[in-house]
Amino acid sequence: MKYLAFFSLLVWHLTSFAQKSVNHRLVFHPMFGDSVLKEATYYQINSNDSIQITALKFYISGLELSYQHKTVWKEKNSYHLMDAFQEGSLTLPLPLPAKLKYDRVKFNLGIDSVTSVSGVMGGDLDPTKGMYWTWQSGYINFKLEGNSNLCKTRNTEFQFHLGGYQFPHNNLQSIFMDMPHQKLDVVIDIKKMVGDLPLTQMHHIMSPGNEAMLLTETVINAMRAKK
């Protein structure tokens, strides 16, 4: 009898796990205009100038779903590092309870201030991921590195490390998108982001401040749900 009870508990456990369907997911698509963003590839930004991206990494955190303006699900320990050149990192499965209704998703670009002052973390937040500043505490919310002939720098490099958790330079941004289906494809169009940047003057941002805040706005504008 005891064994039966234990066995049925086990079955119940297994099925409840199975119900947390991984069909629901968020998929990020780094693009350059109409092309899929690739490593070691030069893209035209205008008739004379070109750009290549050597690193694009960013944090997605605080995943939440809502239905008719009411929050119905929040992910626990919701911190995900996206790496444009590691395709596996770009899909976020949403382990939802069965039959959960939702119509909208919310996520943050970056890491919240509470986490930023709570010491060292593991997993995607481990400082070995290269997304933690060493000389001044705080996460790099968004990292874009590459080369362009427009940058009169060593090896024509540019580096944008955008972050900041302290007032008045708290750089965490929330993004809301309608999510009518199980899968939501989110495009991040780097052409849109860098196209308007004055790369000749602006090529290195490595600390929190007004410039980082402004540039983060351009990242947000470069994100859209794929139709």
Partner: protein
């Protein structure tokens, strides 16, 4: 009977899976404020503290495997770097600041002279990565540790498996640093009514309380705040301190108030190590304070001390020396 055996067996396995948290590794001294460090997020165990101690003394943390934390934070000199106004690191490169003394860190809420670091667990990242200090990356440190049989064993002892991560590496270094509590100076014995000050020390203590205690607040001998103590700018460094971090003009020339515990051994003094002796420091406060907009309020009116007062004050400062701390075998190079 069989059932009881199984229950007992599982209980044993469960207990063995968790290391016993040793409360003796860190004791908050009587009548001190509550520590700021959240020990629940990084509970001290004997094995982790030992691992942290090995890491603290091991030059494996630096790019050329020559510089350890202890290179600039030596126990006998209150875990700082004496004889150098600016500390030097890898390839004899000179940094821009004087290494701070390490003690009673569980009470600190910010680290570095400008408070650039907000938590003890991420503090070690700064010297490890700085090109003039250890010139290494935490990624590379983790790789090197993973190739070391010694560290695989030590991580296994501390964590129950051989997985080495940045998080674990940094947290164990914190564990060792948290055990560095200095609270056994003559001053502490007097406060605990086990000893008495001499007449001279007593006079010095009164002068201290009148003139210094606002910033160097007992019992930590720092208020843990950032203050401008009236040092003129060294134009070879142009270091404006806290302002670099907050980008706020009102923080110009402010530096974190250092503790005065073990001050006898932590020379040279100030963020740039400009003063070699305590009498030079006192002379600064009585005659050398440079006026500026952000000067600490408590220094608006000049501090007046006669030469006898200065001698008495220094006599008191020497009662902050904690020999037990400076020679405690638990903090020394691991054998």
């Amino acid at each position: 009977m069989k059932q009881k055996f199984f229950i007992g067996f599982f209980l044993c396995v469960t207990l063995c899976a968790f290391h016993v948290i040793d409360t003796k590794l860190f004791v908050s001294p009587e009548n001190w404020p509550k520590p700021s460090y959240d020990f629940t997020q990084n509970p001290l165990t004997f094995e982790s503290v030992q691992l942290g101690r090995h890491l603290f003394y091991d030059p494996i943390l630096s790019k050329n495997n020559k510089i350890s934390c202890a290179s600039c934070h030596s126990q006998y000199t209150a875990f700082t770097h004496v004889d150098h106004n600016l500390s030097h690191g890898i390839d004899d490169r000179i940094g821009v600041r004087n290494s701070p003394a390490l003690m009673n860190l569980a009470w600190h809420t910010s680290f570095m002279w400008d408070g650039a670091v907000n938590h003890l667990d991420v503090q070690a990242l700064a010297p490890i990565s700085h090109p003039d200090e250890m010139g290494e990356s935490i990624q590379q440190v983790v790789t090197k540790l993973g190739q070391s049989e010694k560290y695989k064993k030590l991580f296994y002892k501390a964590y129950g498996d051989r997985v080495i991560t940045g998080e674990r590496t940094l947290k164990t270094i914190s564990q060792f640093m948290l055990t560095l509590v200095s609270a056994n100076s003559k001053y502490d014995s007097v406060m605990r009514k086990q000893k008495q000050f001499t007449t001279q020390e007593k006079r010095g203590y009164a002068l201290f309380q009148k003139n210094c205690n606002t910033c160097h607040t007992e019992p930590l001998f720092t208020n843990l705040q950032f203050e401008n103590n009236g040092l003129s700018v060294d134009t070879t460094l142009n270091d404006f301190g806290r302002m670099k971090i907050t980008k706020n003009n009102s923080d110009s020339l402010k530096f974190k108030v250092p503790t005065l515990r073990n001050v006898e051994f932590s020379y040279p003094y100030m963020h740039d190590g400009r003063f070699k002796t305590l009498s030079q420091v006192l002379k600064h406060y009585t005659n050398g304070v440079h006026q500026s907009e952000t000067l600490a309020k408590s220094l608006d009116a000049p501090i007046v001390l006669s030469s006898n007062d200065k001698v008495d004050l220094v006599a008191f400062l020497l009662t902050l020396t904690d020999k037990k701390f400076l020679f405690d075998p638990r903090y020394s190079f691991p054998k």
